[in-house]
């Protein structure tokens, strides 16, 4: 196994989320993936900074997997960033712990893809809305990879969710086995397009 993946999963009402339960159901079984359920681990937001830094340091790809709330992540991810990405560790003159690693998002949204554009009701593209995260990655010398998107979770059929799950799992497996150069994804608006040009 060449690479290791850390999935930082955040959903405050996971038990009620149809899409995410399906997407994540096999992840903990895959060797090389550490599936880390943040709300379950830190129900009172008391994040163990040292432990989280150690997890980050021992993985190659860091995935923030969460629903899209108010054009951003659930609050625990903000708390996580605020606490774990310490100066002198993640960034700053002495902070090189994350250098060269990859960072990406897996995001589920209620709304459909076409609403995320200048003419749509959400006005901005996902790429634009994620610029704070992109800049965070850049501050920490992380290679930022475009997100994997699952749109329209209000109305998506179960079969479609299963397809997403498989595609995502295969993506992870390819990376774990060293068959993917993630740098090839950089510059795209999401990685779904690259993985499966037909869906577009």
């Amino acid at each position: 196994m060449e690479n290791k993946i850390l999935i930082l999963f955040a959903h405050p009402a996971f038990e009620k989320s149809r899409v995410n339960r399906t997407l994540t159901k096999n992840l903990h079984k895959i060797e090389g993936i550490t599936f880390h359920d943040l709300y379950e681990a830190y129900p009172d937001f008391d994040i163990d900074i040292k432990k989280e830094q150690q997890l980050l340091a021992t993985h190659d790809l860091i995935v923030f997997h969460h629903p899209f709330y108010w054009y951003s992540s659930p609050s625990i991810i903000k708390e996580y960033l605020d606490l774990v990405l310490e100066h002198g560790w993640a960034y700053g003159h002495e902070g090189h712990a994350l250098e060269g690693k990859y960072l990406m998002h897996v995001i589920t949204t209620g709304a459909k893809e076409e609403t995320y554009c200048a003419q749509g009701r959400n006005h901005y593209t996902i790429e634009q809305l994620l610029t704070p995260m992109e800049q965070t990655a850049s501050m920490c010398n992380l290679n930022y990879i475009p997100p994997y998107m699952v749109y329209g979770s209000f109305s998506i059929e179960q079969q479609k969710i299963e397809e997403h799950r498989k595609q995502l799992e295969n993506f992870y497996l390819d990376f774990l086995n060293g068959n993917l150069n993630l740098k090839n994804f950089q510059g795209e608006c999401d990685i779904n397009t690259v993985l499966n040009p037909k869906t577009k």
Binding site: P12, E40, P43, P74, T109, G110, A111, R121
Partner: protein, 633 residues
């Protein structure tokens, strides 16, 4: 008329005190002047209600000075004493040294031999510990720079008495036979000086050891009897025993008691000792001042008023300017320098002892000594007036009113939190505070518990927190928080009542063991009530839900919601709660309350929807009418 027995004497002294002190205080003169005036009035030269026995009373009452120094010592930990070493040795040393030299020179100048002149210089350099400390305390000036330096000087003077007593016999003009007589009470008069020093050091060493390994266990045994009067007796016994021991080795009992107090300052019985000895000290000091007043030989003053007046004036002026100069050299500001100089510019009670000793040793002639003693008494009587003049006339005029900018070391406890009861609840709360850099003063009633905690290195004091005086000794006047964590709920109520009555500044937090205590505590107007088992029970329920597969974040939120509702319900029920119903009705009502609470909780959980996170309703509606909103999944 003087021999009416003990009760008669007590009646006279107490009447004089009870009448004159309130009058003096009302006139703004302070209690010391009141006592002195009372003494002069009942003394042999005015009303003649007390006579020669006044001298005996004075000797007896001098014990009040010993007690006062013991109490001062108790409030002064060794570390603090060490920090005071510069004012004690520097300021005190220069005051005694310079004053002695100047007065000796004056003595020689007016025709005395250098030996009596030196004896007089040494004696007159000393000030009155009792008078100054009482006056400063009463006016709340002990914490000022001036007050603290005055205290340091007095401390040095108390120490200086020991070598002075040793020097006086050497100054004897002829090799009189009576020289040793006065000393014959000590055990050590045959031992050479170096041996004496060794013995004194050895005895202080054994007091240190006894304080640590003997006195505390003894007090613990006594405390276990729960008889307050026996504790008081033991406290008195301790002070008296130390005084006797000190006199036997030729050390001033006041100084000995002071050092013993310092050594016991870290004992857990410190506050309890303070509380028990305080009233005796007050009464005896009062008695002492009355006796000083009564001993003023008005005949002598009346016969040679000019001479006495000159001597008093000279004494006060010489001492005042030396003190003022020293204060300035040591960097005190003007108002503190004035306070310092005015308060110490008199002769002291040591003069009575030292002059009689000097007479016995043929150092000073009796006629001279008598006149000087009268001058000392007059100078003492004038001191409260001088301090009053300083306070009312001089200070306002020079009106700088330079306040001490830096926070002063208080001799007393200064913790912001007092924790009553150091058991299962108090100890955890206290440890948590300590872990976050907040020290608390702990009070506990169980001597064994106190002992155990002391061994663990915690500053716990033995004492009943429902007593006003003990709370005060623990610093309740300046503290902000009182945590009542005792398990005896009657005691808790008593503590709360005492604190609310005397220390409205304290914010009270209270532990409750059962539901009826909760209502009782809320009934006292206290909102910060803590049911000792509630949080544990909720935690258990939460963990059970998590074990059953519930998401821990949801369980955490549910627990918080449940706690909030329960608390609201508690306060609602407390309002309607009537304590005079019989036990059965109370229990029945409580069960009804519980049922109501559970029903309410169920109702709430049905309404519970996880706000923005819960999309179940959204999915249905969006599937129905195809309408999408942006921000959920």
């Amino acid at each position: 008329m003087h021999d009416g027995g003990f009760l008669y004497q007590a009646f006279i002294y107490l009447t004089a005190a009870v009448i004159s002190v309130p009058v003096a205080k009302r006139l703004g003169l302070g209690s010391v002047l009141g006592y002195l005036l009372a003494g002069i009035i009942i003394g042999p030269f005015v009303l003649g209600l007390v006579g020669e026995e006044g001298q005996d009373v004075m000797h007896f009452a001098e014990f009040g000075v010993v007690m006062m120094l013991f109490l001062i010592g108790l409030e002064l930990e060794p570390a603090l004493l060490w920090r005071l070493r510069v004012p004690i040795l520097g300021v005190g040393g220069s005051q005694v040294g310079i004053t002695t030299i100047v007065i000796t020179i004056i003595g020689i100048a007016i025709g005395l031999d250098w030996r009596p002149a030196l004896a007089i210089g040494l004696t007159m350099a000393l000030s009155s510990t009792a008078l100054v400390m009482q006056s400063l305390n009463e006016r709340g000036l002990m914490k000022t720079e001036g007050g603290r330096n005055a205290f340091s000087v007095l401390l040095f003077q108390d120490i200086a008495v020991i070598p002075i007593l040793a020097i006086l016999p050497i100054l004897a003009q002829n090799t009189g036979s009576s020289a040793i007589e006065a000393h014959s009470v000590t055990w050590l008069h045959m031992v050479p000086l170096w041996g004496r020093t060794l013995i004194v050091i050895g005895i202080f060493g054994s007091i240190v050891i006894a304080g640590r390994y003997l006195i505390t266990p003894i007090f613990r045994i006594i405390a276990r009897t729960r008889l307050t009067e026996i504790f008081t007796a033991a406290a008195l016994l301790l002070v008296i025993a130390i005084s006797l021991l000190m006199m036997k080795i030729g050390v001033s009992p006041a100084l000995g008691a002071f050092l013993a107090g310092v050594l016991l300052a870290q004992s857990e019985y410190r506050h309890e000792l303070e509380t028990n000895i305080m009233p005796f000290k007050g009464l005896l000091l009062g008695l002492f001042f009355i006796a000083v007043g009564a001993s003023l030989d008005l005949h002598l003053v009346a016969n040679r008023p000019g001479l006495i007046l000159e001597l008093v004036g000279l004494l006060i002026i010489v001492k005042f300017f030396i003190l003022f100069g020293i204060a300035k050299i040591f960097g005190l500001k003007l108002d503190n320098s004035l306070l310092f100089a005015f308060s110490l510019a008199q002769g002291g009670e040591f003069a009575f002892v030292l002059f009689s000793y000097a007479i016995q040793n043929n150092v000073v002639q009796r006629e001279i000594a008598d006149i000087l003693i009268a001058s000392v008494v007059v100078s003492m009587a004038i001191t409260p007036l001088l301090m009053l003049i300083n306070e009312k006339l001089i200070q306002p005029r020079f009106g700088t009113k330079e306040k001490d900018e830096k926070p002063q070391d208080d001799f007393r406890e200064t913790n912001r939190v007092i924790i009553a009861g150091f058991g299962r609840v108090g100890s955890v709360a206290g440890r948590f505070l300590q872990a976050n850099g907040v020290n608390a003063t702990y009070l506990d009633l169980d001597p064994d518990n106190v002992d155990l905690l002391r061994k663990l290195g915690l500053k716990v004091y033995y004492g009943d927190a429902s007593r006003y005086d003990l709370l005060e000794a623990a610093g309740a006047k300046n503290a902000e928080l009182l945590i009542v964590a005792v398990d005896n709920m009657d005691k808790a109520a008593a503590i709360i009542e005492t604190a609310q009555k005397h220390f409205p500044n304290l914010h009270i937090m209270a532990r409750a063991t059962g539901w009826e205590n909760v209502y009782d505590i809320i009934g006292h107007g206290i909102n910060d009530v803590y049911r000792e088992t509630f949080d544990t029970a909720i935690k258990m329920g939460s963990d059970a839900l998590i074990k059953l597969g519930h998401r821990s974040f949801q369980v955490t939120r549910a627990a918080k919601r449940f706690t909030r509702h329960d608390r609201e319900a508690l306060f609602t029920f407390a309002k309607n709660h009537e304590t005079d119903k019989n036990q059965l009705t109370q229990v029945r009502e409580h069960i009804k309350e519980l049922e109501e609470r559970i029903r309410e909780e169920q109702l709430n959980s049905q309404k519970n929807k996880d706000l923005g996170w819960d999309v179940t309703s959204r999915i249905k509606s969006s599937l129905k009418n195809g309408n999408q909103k942006s921000d959920n999944s």
